[in-house]
Structures are given as C-alpha cells and as structure tokens.
Symmetry: C2
C-alpha cells in the first residue's frame, strides 16, 4: 500500500512571511498597518493556480478572505490590515484553478485556429462543477455559461465567449477548488497598538526640572514640540553606598545626587519613588497631566540594585556571592561599577528563581497599576532570554497594550533575538551609521524581511550615554540632520533632552558620553533660548503627523543620486508619497541630481510632479525624474517633499 | 508558579546549517565531503561559551564529538567528514564555559594590576568542579591547578599561571558544563556515495552506434576521455502511432526510428528493451563492459507513454480522458505532442493512484535488479512533488546507493524543491549563463547556502534538446570554453555525444535544438576525426581527477579581475589549490590583471606562488597577487593553475 507524500500536498505553499527566524514566536504588526502576507505557491506542471489568505483576530469566529496574487517567480501575496490589537491568525490556501487553466488553453488554441469542439464540452463540465461551489446567488450565471458552451446552435466564437464571460471568471476566481487544495497555518502575528510602530519619544530627567511638579511644567513644551511619549529614567530611590559623583567619579560629595540607575535605598526599591522627585501621588498627577497633553509616560525598567536596595537584605540569594562572603558588584574587567549589584537571574535553587522572576514581574504590575503601559528596558541583553520570553508573555497576556523598548546596543544576533522573543521596539546602531552607503545598507536591512517582520527600530540620535559622531562638538546643522534622519527614516525615534539646545560637549576625545553627564548631576537649562531648535523640531514632528507614510516601517525606498553626501529616500502609503533629501554634511552646501525611481513612487515614467517642501513651504514642478537639488545646511540641510502628480 | 521559558534555553542555538528551507527533508552530503556544520550560538551577558557538534551515522551507537569554534558575529562552526553513506545524525550542544570566563577576567584584572586574591579562590572552586567532569586520567592535573591557585605560600603570579596552565585549558575546553547546557537536534543529513557529488557524464544514443553491441565498442573511448558515467536515453520499444519523423516532423516514414522518449509499443513498455538495440542480455553485457572500464551506466526514467504502450490498454485509468472518449496527448498549447500520452499521476480513485505509483516504482526496481543505480529523470517537474517524495523515499530506503538526476529546466522554486524532496543532482540554468557577471552570480548562488545545502548542480554545456548560446555555430574554442567551465566550476558535469566533434548546427535561428536532431534519426559519426576534442577532453578530466579541489561543490571562490571577458576562480580542498582563468570570448585573445584574494587561497599576503598550468604544462612564479594573464582562444582559452607557495 502506498503511503501518501506526508509532507507535500499537490500545491506547495512555503516560506510564508511575515515570520520570525525560528517561527516559534509571533511576527509583528500594528493596528491598521498594511501587512503583506506572502508565500511561494507552485505545483507540478503548468496549470493555473488560485490562492487566498484567510485571517481573523483570535477570538473571532468568522474568517476574512483576501485573494493572493502572483508577483513573479512563484511568489504570491495579499495585503491584510489588522483592525485591532491582539493575535492575528492566518491560514493560506492554494489550489489548482482548473477553470482558469482551461480558459488559458482554449484561448491560445482559438488564436492558433485549432478546433475546440471537445474543449468546449470540457469547459462546460468544469463550469457544471464550478456551479456547485459558486455562491448560491451566482450559480445561475455559471450554469448559463456552461449551457452557452454546449449550445451547438451558436457559432463557436459565441460559445467560447459565453464560457469565458468576465462575470463568471470573477465569481470563480478566489473560490477554492477542494481537489488539490493545500492549506497551511503559519505562526500567528501579534498586532500591537499603533504606538508600537510609530512614536516620537522625549527623554527627560525629572530631577533637573525640580521633580514631578517641575517636570509637569515642561510637558506643554514637549507636547508643543510634537512628541507623543515622555520617557523618564528610573524614578526610584538612589543608593548611597559607593554612589558615583560628578562625571562618573568614585568620590561622591554629600550633594551629589547619584545615578538614577543605582536603584534602591532604605527608602525603597523598584516600586518606590525617590522622595526628592515627589510622592507617588505627585507621579500620578504628572502622568495625568501628560495624558491631558496627548503624551504617554514611559518608565525605565532597569533590573539591577544598589547595595542599599531592600532586595539585597531580603533576598541575598538573588545576587552573586564571592568566596569572601561579599556580593559581587557589576564589572566589565578591568572596569568596576561598585554602586550596582547585578541580579543573578538564574539562582541554583529553582524556587529562588521563581520568586525572583515573580518579583520582577510584580514591579511591572505595580507600575501598570499606576497607568503605565510603556517601558524602556535597560540592558535586556544581560538578562536571560528565557526570562524575557516568560516575562513578556506573562505581562502581555494580562495587559496586551503593554509595550517594551529594548535598550540593547549589543551584537546583531542578540538584538534580533530580543525582538523575536517579544520586545516591541529596539534601540539600534543608528547612532553609529552616518555615511550615505552605510545608512542605506543598514536601513534596507531594518525595513525589509527578515528583520522587519518582527523587529521595530527606534532611532535615537542621542541618549544620556551617547553623544555620537557628528553631534560631538556639532553645529545646529548637525543636530538638524541627525534628528531629521531619525524622524523620517523610521516611524519611531526619540531624543534626550538638551538636544534642542544642541548640547555637544563630549566627556573626552575617546569617551562617547557627555561632559558633566546628567546621569550624575542635576542640570539647569535655559529652555527659552532664542537659538533653541524646539520650533524646528515641532515643524518636523508636525510633518510626521500629517503624512501617514512616515508612520510606516516597511515602505522605505532609496533613490539613486550622484553626490555621496546626499541621501534621498521616499516613503509611500496609499496616496501619500513623501521624498526626503538630506545633505549629510553639516559643514557646507551640496548639490545633486537625483535619479528618482518612478516605479517605486507609483507613477508612470514621465509623470510631471509637484514637489512641495514641507520644511520651507517652497514648491517646485518637476518635469523630469532627475531633478536638481541644492541643500545649504546653514539654511535647511534637507528637503521633505510631499510629491503629487502635477495638475 | 513560574513556567520555564518553554522555547529558549540559557544558550541560544539557532539557524543550524546545512538544512533544507523547510527542514522537513534531509540536507545533503557525500562520503568524505567536508561538511561545515554551523549555527548561531550566544547567550545573555558576556560569558565565554563552549559548543560542540556530535554526530554519528544512523545505526551506530557512539557519538563523535567535534568542538565548534566562533568565526565571528556569534556564528560557530565545526567540520564533519561523513565516513560512509547513510543518514548522518547531528546534535549540537552549547554551554557557559565558566572556567574560560574566569580565565579571561582574571587575566585582564592582573594586567590592570588589580588584587585577585578572591578571584584565585573563585578559580580554585571552578577547577574543583571541573575536575569532577574531566576525563578520569586528567583529573589529577585539574586538581593540581586548583591546589596551586590556593597555595598562599606561592607568589600570586605563580598561582595565577598555575591555574591557567595550558594543559588544563585544553582538557576542559570542549567538555560540556551540564549547567546552562542547550542541546538541539537538527534534521539529519543524507550522506550519498561520492558520485552523487562528483561525476562526469557522457550521453550517447546506443542506436546510433548499432545497438548495445556497437555502443559497447564506444565505451573504451568514453572511458579514455575520462568520463565515469555513460547515460543512455530511453532504451525501450518506441511507439509507432503518430511517430515523429526527422527534425520533429509529423509524417514519419517507414525507416524513421522515432523518439526514444515515445516509450512503449506492442513489444513492451518501461521494462522492455527495444529489439533493435538488442536483448536484455545484450544490455547486461553492455553494463558489465562499462563497469569493467570504470563507467557506471545511467538510464533515463521518463514517465510517459506512447499511444502503443501496454499501460494504455491495461490501465486506461492512469491517463487523462477527454469528453469524446479519446486519451489526451501531451500539449503545450498551441503545440501538440501526439506521439506521447502524459500519465495522470493523481487519478480520482485512490486505489488507481496506489497501483500507478507502485507500477512506476516497479519500473525502477526492475532496472535496479539489472544493476542500475543511476537514473536521469525526465521532466520531473511535471509530476507531483508528493509522488517524488514518496518514490525517492521508498527507493532510497531499499537501495541507499540509488541516485537521481532531475532534468528540470524549470522555474527556480520548483528546481530547488525537487532537490529538497530528494533528487541527488539537478540540471541547471548553466546553459543560459554565459557572461562573466551572470556566471559569477549564478555560481555563487549554487555553491553557497541555502541552495548548496541540498541541491547539487550538474552542468551540461549541451543536451540532445539544447544547443545553446556560444555553441550555436560555435568554433572549437567555444566548445572548449563551455566544457572547461562546466568541468571546473562544479564537481558534476556532462556532455551529449557529438560535443567532441563540435557539432554546432542549430535547428533554426530561434529553435534551441539541433538541426537533424538525433532524437529523431540515427547518426553516423566519424569519431576518429583528427580535429576531435577527445584528447583535450581527456586532459581536462584527468586534471579533474588529479585535483580533489574539483570534486567539491562548496569551495568555489571568485577572484576580481578587470577584463569583463575574463573569469577567474579558485577551489581549495586541504592542500590542493587550483585557480582557473577563462577567456569567455572564443573570438579573440584577452589579457587581464587578476586581483587574487590571498585570504581565500589560504596564504599570507605577499606569499610568492608557483603557478603550474595543467593544460599547457607551463609554469610561472608570481611574486605578486596581481599577476598578468593573456589567453588566446586559438591556442588555449583557459589556464588551469595548480598553485603552491614558491620554494
């Protein structure tokens, strides 16, 4: 007795996207995001195939059907727009479309002048069969086509035309034929709320604004700049043992506030608020004020302890111990971080591990209980991936709207894996990608499969730890260039406060940090300075909001140009087409001739274009796909064009 | 209670190669082939990892262990050389190497002048633990290292050195630590006999040599040319209904022999021998003669029938029927192939399908019973993949040495899928890749993962169906160029007889076939012609035999050069390094300056090289990695250099 081919159906469906590399975790999408579901679909021989994607949100009963179309080389695709957050389930089906095959063949034979009498009867039989599967209201049409094919009183041309009637074709295309039907169920897709994909972050130290009350006064300015997330470094009590002083020195004076990442003191740990910032009620008011201005507050989830953290006394078993009885502080030999004890996430005793992991979860639950749904996770790559797999699974199960930004400037494989196991967004290497070619290569990697199927970049031109590349001693033009790239290349980006004042003093020639880092001291800034970039940033964020193309990740395409300091890229979503042209050199004007790919822009070659620069308000009409541009960084280092066919 | 991370262990092992795209079928290797087993291996934090590959042939009890080494970007690899044909099972293990981590850290701390008293005790404890896992005979050495670390009578430098002793490092590296151990079992690898990877085929029509007896006389010449496979088109009775005449015409005369692919007549079907070729005993003698000369005979497995095939009468249910009662002949509208009935591989009745598939298997079993283990499969892409999955599985289970060459000049996805489901070798698009850039791109695709993990190319400059590109009206130089490329780019290649006589007349300007195709008539050739390429082909095949580098697939690397008609590539296996430089233009001499990648060749930059041209016998000494070459196709269109460091 012959066993069936156990793996392969008549039609092959394989290499389904989106997916994660292992398929063991869901790929990612956001509400309303156009998700291209694609797969290889083929079978033996030369028959015409049909394919469709069926999808539904977990918990729904009804499947939604979208026909798949071949895009070349046996690749088929359909676009799905998830209507809500949750788990999107997918089923792909493909089958032999016998009617379409017959239609193709009889058409060719007719054109070659061959006799098709027998073919007409074959077609009539296929239509008879199709009628049994057609939607009820359409069956009579299909039956009529079959009758016409058989109607010997009519000329052959009329009979063929009747059997091929467009209406009937439409009715039957996309209706699976149960014979030869192959069905696959790819891993589901996690649909997050929109902010997981598109967000503009502003990081500030509330203690530099006078605690929560003072920081609340800054919120209007942050909102006016057009940000939608305000992210606070840890707001918990800070340890005093081995506290770091100004500029990361070892001998803190009595007035040195210490690093907010040295979490925990006698006044509490990860669920306490630093008394100098205010009370938990002050914090709640701050969150409410932010919300009133359209700002979501993100907190820092930094799983480490100062030597004074309550966990050190209560749970010494959660830390690493040395033979001399001491608890191991953090180190990266030969560097020592005596003000921080790393947690031992995998204690030998499994009960200890369970208690620790639950305690870590309870920290998140505490802040979720206070209305927080957005967490920036400090150094996730130094905690076990299994911990994140469990933690993100647990928390998202209970709170599907909770989102996590991974601060892992680590090696590529680990960065990607953290995204795969469930982080919603990821810091990236953007800070270190400054040249035209490396930006184009890196962005192509970030916005295409396999990575874009499950990792969402969040671009930070600066952070409290990193004053990088062109920003070191940089001019306002440099600050504009880096922010504009971050804000328009990908849908999520963020800056650390002070950026708008072009703070540019590096700690040293070789040290990537800031001089007089805010991590170790309180900063007093003149936010009202006339040369602040705040109004310009507001303009950029306003452009981002008005153009849905900037809210997508997978729609970025680069366009060729000759000058290696000029980067040109477009983004398209529906009718919205934007073209950004950036002079990467803050020191001098550059000119260039672009070579726009009209196919990518979605218009026929030769279409004249209206190009409205949203930054300057200037408009141009281009009658060529090779427009000339000149960008003077002293004025504006970039064009952000809204493109439309000229009237 | 906390559930464990169900998917991820402490150490991640992922993206294991070799593998097929779906992982549902075994990847491929050949006996003695160096197989690079690789995977991403990483964990949280900065600890040093250890990893190993364990392998054994299915049926063996003992595992063989090979340490894996990092090659960069968290990619680890080990090389396995399968000792025998069969199924190679793999297990990969990775773990935290605590001892190595400690060694790294204490070394850095010592260099920074830090106190390491506590670290020495930490090290001693790690060594105590290591001793329990060390091979018994080495335990005392590990214990001694621990004692030295603790020996307060010694200076610290001595204690550190004692704990870090090279012997102990070697003992413990590669020994898994059961804590944090991650183990994965990737899909197994099918190990075929060597010929699956490396083979030189010669195709001939025995009827043109006077049947098996006459063809046997040609075998010595074929063996002397250095081929190791002689492949015969179908040797079965040929149908007379709608038999094709000379040049594929519709009106065959009484003397026209018909196409051997129109299989079956009253004299029998796929298990019969055409009486004009001889008897089955004659065939057996032919096979024995071939074997005596070191030649393996390959038969054609062409699953289609002439209208006169016994199956048409005995099993009409295995064919497609039309409404007028006729059996459907093969067609590719508007083209008709009335001399061939395609088989319906998926009859509606499952019992019919079982009977058909078994009958197809019995055909193979019949010829295997007559000593044949090599089959060239005609048009496998027009038969269901599920059929091949079952058929190849069944036959290889019973006859692990059976090999199958897929003649599927079809679309890329189907070509790859046929390889995935079990075909041993594949025809390719080589015939249509003639320019430098397209050859380099296509060969890189064919010789690298993912494709090279499971698909083995077999390059045919010509076939009875295809007289392509530069061979159409081509000069002897064109024939040399295309054969040399086929024979040296990949380890398996073949030619169809007549190639050595530079038969070059195309059927027409647009038709890729031969004029007066041997498929439809008997050819009489003057094999002894003075201008035959046979001696030159013998030289090429002799070079192939003497250089193991030509017997590998995955070792091909291209080297830069300036002239776009000159292609340079090297292959390396162990000490054997060959460099081929081909003038792709048969019409005129070309010169070029190569830019050899010494890293790829395996020698330090600046190493002077002896380059011995195996084709001409000339030798050069290169004191630069940018040697000059000049290739005159009128003399030799290529260099085949054996490279060695100059003495």
């Amino acid at each position: 007795m012959v066993a069936l081919g156990v793996v392969i159906g008549r039609v092959v469906i394989q290499d389904v996207r989106p997916r994660t590399p292992t398929g063991a975790f869901p790929a990612k999408a956001a509400v309303g995001e156009p998700v291209t579901v694609s797969a290889d679909v083929f079978r033996d021989g030369h028959d015409v195939l049909g394919a469709r994607a069926r999808w539904r949100m977990q918990g729904e009963r009804r499947w939604n059907d979208v026909p798949m179309r071949e895009t070349g080389n046996d690749r088929w695709e359909a676009v799905v727009r998830p209507p809500a957050a949750g788990i999107l389930q997918l089923v792909l089906e493909a089958w032999t479309d016998r009617l379409a095959t017959w239609r193709r063949d009889i058409t060719v034979k007719r054109q070659a002048g061959q006799d098709v009498e027998v073919e007409l009867e074959e077609g009539a039989r296929l239509l008879d069969e199709a009628a049994t599967r057609a939607p009820k209201r359409d069956r009579s049409k299909v039956d009529a086509a079959a009758a016409t094919a058989r109607d010997a009183t009519q000329p052959v041309a009329r009979r063929v035309a009747g059997a091929l009637e467009a209406d009937v074709v439409e009715i039957m295309t996309g209706t699976p034929d149960p014979r030869d039907l192959t069905r696959v169920t790819p891993p589901p897709i996690r649909v997050d709320r929109r902010r997981a994909l598109s967000s503009a972050w502003y990081e500030l130290f509330p203690r530099s604004e006078g605690g929560f009350e003072g920081a609340a006064k800054r919120l209007r300015a942050v909102a006016e700049m057009g940000f939608d997330v305000v992210y606070l470094p840890p707001i918990h009590p800070i340890g005093h043992t081995a506290r770091k002083g100004r500029d990361n020195t070892l001998d803190a004076g009595p007035d040195d506030p210490g690093s907010p990442w040295a979490i925990g003191s006698e006044e509490g740990g990860h669920t306490a608020v630093h008394p100098e910032l205010g009370t938990i009620e002050d914090f709640e008011r701050f969150v409410a004020d932010a919300e009133g201005l359209g700002l979501e507050v993100a907190l820092d989830y930094a799983l480490q302890c100062s030597p004074d953290h309550p966990w050190v006394r209560e749970h010494p078993e959660w830390f690493h111990h040395r033979p001399d009885g001491s608890i191991k502080y953090a180190e990266n030999p030969p560097k020592k971080y005596q003000d921080i004890y790393p947690i031992n996430f995998w204690p030998d005793d499994d009960g200890d591990r369970v208690a620790l992991w639950e305690a870590c979860r309870d920290v998140l639950e505490f802040w979720i209980g206070h209305g927080i749904r957005l967490f920036r996770v400090d150094n996730p790559h130094t905690k076990p991936l299994a911990f994140w797999e469990w933690m993100l699974g647990e928390v998202k199960e209970a709170h599907p709207d909770a989102l996590f930004l991974a601060e892992a400037f680590t090696r590529p494989k680990m960065m990607a894996k953290l995204a795969e196991v469930g982080f919603s967004q990821s810091y990236t290497y953007f800070t270190w990608r400054t040249e035209k070619r490396e930006l184009a290569e890196y962005l192509t990697e970030l916005t295409s499969p396999p990575l874009a199927d499950y990792m969402r970049p969040n671009f930070w031109p600066n952070t409290p730890d990193i004053l990088g590349g062109p920003l070191r001693g940089g001019t306002p033009a440099a600050f504009k260039i880096r922010l504009l790239l971050a804000a328009t290349l990908v849908p999520s980006y963020g800056i650390y406060s002070g950026y708008e004042l072009c703070e540019n003093e590096p700690a040293s020639e070789v040290n990537e940090e800031y001089l007089r880092s805010e991590k170790f001291e309180i900063k007093h800034r003149d936010w009202g300075r006339a040369d602040s970039l705040a109004p310009w940033i507001a303009r950029v964020n306003d452009i981002r909001r008005r153009h849905p193309a900037f809210a997508e990740l997978r729609n970025l395409r680069f366009h060729a140009s000759r000058n290696d300091r000029v980067l040109a890229y477009s983004k398209t979503t529906g009718d919205d087409v934007v073209l950004v042209v950036v002079n990467l050199d803050p020191t001098q004007p550059h000119q260039d001739t672009l070579d726009l790919d009209m196919g990518v822009l979605g218009w026929p070659w030769g279409t004249p274009l209206d190009a409205h620069d949203e930054l300057t308000g200037e408009s141009y009409t281009w009658r060529t796909s090779t427009p000339y541009v000149r960008l003077d960084p002293a004025r504006e280092p970039a064009h952000v064009f809204h493109l439309r066919p000229a009237k």
